[in-house]
């Protein structure tokens, strides 16, 4: 009897060969959600809102509350999560965060964060969300989303050629850069690198620069653009980007 009790207990558990494994499932969720966003944009009027969340890490209870708040405050055309979905870049962390974000009533796009790249996190992100650098033209706004976690990525990151080319190619009246780390991060980027980002922002008339990384929300300026640090769910905050007849504005929402 005791033997069968123990056997049942063990059989009900799963086999995990290593917490650091990547997994086999290829979801490419950013690509799927991009298609959904583009397909549904015709259904949205000229006034719309986009929500920005960030640095969910292992703040699972706060993230649950945040998802409920975003759903209640909608509708949003889509949601952008500006990175750090995990602490250690582990598959189970990615899966737990995805389980919570999937409760959003709106499609969402994910920016890669520095913690997401730890261990085998880069491979997991690639399979779960797809490319780290991409752009999206949504109505009058060009969103350029890119990886600028220079210490954790290896290679030449951020890919300034991609960002500059996307800005040059865009005919959209409004332009927004979205990354995980602030473009003005003095620890990670040299004064010359920060200066070149400032030049790029002013030359191309970028309207907003959104990032995460620092968990405290902040609203400042970066060159000629408005600079928003989104803040983490445990700070009980997220941001809205609002498009209406008055143009493009933003709002900090606390919950």
């Amino acid at each position: 009897m005791k033997f069968f009790f123990l056997l049942t207990l063990f059989i009900s558990c799963k086999f995990t060969h290593s917490p650091y494994q990547v997994g086999q499932q290829k979801l490419l969720q950013n690509e799927t959600n991009l298609s959904t966003i583009l397909r549904d944009q015709a259904l949205t009027g000229p006034d719309f809102k986009i929500a920005f969340l960030s640095d969910t890490h292992n703040y699972y209870e706060d993230l649950r509350d945040l998802v409920k708040t975003v759903n209640n405050n909608g509708p949003y055309s889509f949601v952008i999560v500006t990175g750090d979905l995990t602490n250690h870049g582990l598959l189970e962390e990615y899966q737990k965060t995805k389980e919570l974000l999937n409760d959003l009533n709106f499609p969402y796009l994910v920016v890669v964060g520095n913690h997401d790249l730890l261990s085998n996190g880069d491979k997991i992100f690639e399979k779960m969300y797809g490319k780290t650098d991409f752009n999206l033209t949504y109505k009058d706004i060009e969103f350029i989303i890119f990886n600028n976690n220079n210490w954790e990525s290896g290679g030449v990151i951020p890919n300034t050629v991609f960002v500059a080319a996307a800005l040059v190619a865009s005919a959209a009246p409004f332009k927004i850069l979205v990354s995980h780390v602030s473009l003005g991060d003095a620890d990670r980027f040299s004064p010359a690198q920060v200066q070149s980002w400032e030049n790029l922002v002013s030359v191309h008339g970028v309207d907003y620069v959104f990032n995460g990384h620092n968990h405290n929300p902040e609203e400042t300026d970066f060159s000629s653009a408005k600079h928003i640090t989104v803040g983490s769910p445990n700070k009980r905050v997220y941001f809205e980007l609002i498009m209406n007849s008055g143009g493009l504005t933003h709002k900090k929402i606390t919950f």
């Binding site: 799963k14 086999f15 290593s18 917490p19 650091y20 582990l90 189970e92 954790e152």
Partner: protein, 165 residues
């Protein structure tokens, strides 16, 4: 004085282990020494890239168990596996170009487990063992998110065979 290498080995080692899964590798091999109810051991485990879905994962584990109950043909034990993944890719304290210590994340994980050894006959030295464990990350996540994290979702199972000397 030991007369043969095997006699020398047997005085230090009581069991050889072959384990499947349990967070320390797809397959792990190791040795164990019994000291009354305590056992201490070391294992080397590997997850090939085809199974991990990415890079090869090599794990070294310091295994410790305590038998808290014994029946005639099986026992129950609790244990702690301290394991480390080999390779710079897995060392958060020294990750790529990040400054040393930028990530205050330990390079050793702890897996707390409960298990049982099953013997086919009384006085049998060889046994099958089954164990279920949860690692330190999900214990911490549970303690800080008890409303949202169910520890049962993060329990993993390992099973193996012990050859007694």
């Amino acid at each position: 004085m030991f007369t043969t290498p095997s006699a020398w080995a047997i005085s230090y080692v009581d069991n050889a282990l072959l384990q499947f899964s349990g967070e320390i590798g797809l397959i792990s091999v190791g040795l164990e020494k019994k000291m009354s109810r305590y056992s201490l051991g070391g294992l080397y485990g590997i997850v090939p890239s085809e199974v991990s879905g990415g890079r090869v994962i090599e794990t070294v584990t310091f295994r410790q168990t305590y038998r808290f109950y014994e029946w005639s043909r099986f026992d129950a034990y609790c244990g702690l596996n301290l394991f480390h993944i080999l390779g710079l890719q897995y060392q958060s304290t020294n990750f790529r170009d990040a400054p040393q210590g930028y990530y205050p994340i330990g390079n050793v994980r702890g897996l707390f487990n409960l298990g049982t050894n099953l013997f086919f006959k009384k006085e049998e030295k060889n046994s099958f063992y089954f164990e279920a464990g949860i690692n330190d990350i999900w214990i911490v996540n549970y303690l800080s998110n008890s409303r949202e994290v169910n520890p049962r979702d993060h329990v993993s199972m390992g099973m193996g065979y012990k050859i007694g000397f």
